[in-house]
């Protein structure tokens, strides 16, 4: 596992090819001052626009992805009243319904945690250099995301 952890807080951002334990990841972000954690469990969808996916392959530009994940945590802290954030993205081959990304946000109050979690996943899908290849019975395709310029702020 490629891991970077800020020892001063409970923030973390990681890439791994191992299966993700959502509950365990969520528990790592909890300080005593918090009353809520919001956790996104993003997983592999079987049907996209009516087409059946057999499995996915994720590839990352790992050192840059970790840098961008670290920036997202910093930016989220500047905008939302949150305590800690954990982000773990899986790479490699993932089967249907396996978890690909976990984002856990701990906050004193739930509203900020929900808002920050939503903001982080939107930004992650826009800026973190990770790509997914959908493999179908009749072929495969690398998914290309939306333009950086058209959504949100950097």
């Amino acid at each position: 596992m490629h891991a970077t952890e800020d020892q001063k807080s409970k923030d973390f951002f990681e890439l791994t090819t191992e299966p993700l334990d959502v509950g365990a990841i969520a528990r790592r972000v909890v300080p005593e001052t918090c009353g809520a954690i919001v956790t996104l469990d993003g997983f592999v969808r079987q049907f996209t626009k009516g087409r059946e996916t057999l499995y996915l392959e994720y590839e990352g530009y790992e050192p840059m992805a970790l840098k961008e994940m670290e920036k997202l945590i910093k930016q989220a802290r500047e905008q939302f009243e949150i305590a800690n954030v954990g982000i773990v993205h899986r790479l490699g081959r993932l089967e249907i319904s396996e978890t690909s990304v976990v984002i856990s946000v701990a906050a004193p109050h739930r509203r900020a945690a929900f808002e920050a979690c939503e903001w982080i996943i939107k930004e992650l899908k826009r800026v973190v250099p990770i790509w997914k290849k959908e493999v179908y019975a009749e072929g495969e395709t690398w998914i290309e995301g939306e333009s950086l310029k058209t959504k949100g702020k950097r």
């Binding site: 993003g42 530009y61 840059m64 992805a65 990770i130 290309e144 995301g145 950086l148």
Partner: protein, 79 residues
């Protein structure tokens, strides 16, 4: 000067390799480097591309130094 260029996902498939080294004139900018790469691999033109220099998103004006790590990739699709 020599720089390393990395490709990922769709761009790695388009160029048929994950890593090349290219030669650039002194004082080259990112736009010069990327024009050379796209000239070498026209299949890249079929994609909307993003560029990075030393693991940071880069615009065309970014100055390039000997030994830099460049990357060419499509819009990201993680999550």
């Amino acid at each position: 000067m020599k720089v390393q260029v990395l490709f990922f996902g769709a761009t790695a498939d388009a160029v048929g390799t994950r890593e090349i080294e290219i030669d650039l004139p002194e004082n080259a900018k990112a736009e010069n480097a990327f024009a050379q790469i796209i000239g070498k691999y026209p299949a890249l033109k079929q994609h909307s591309l993003l560029f990075a220099v030393n693991q940071e998103y880069a615009g065309g004006e970014e100055p390039i130094q000997n030994g830099d790590e460049l990357a060419v990739f499509t819009h990201v699709s993680g999550g």
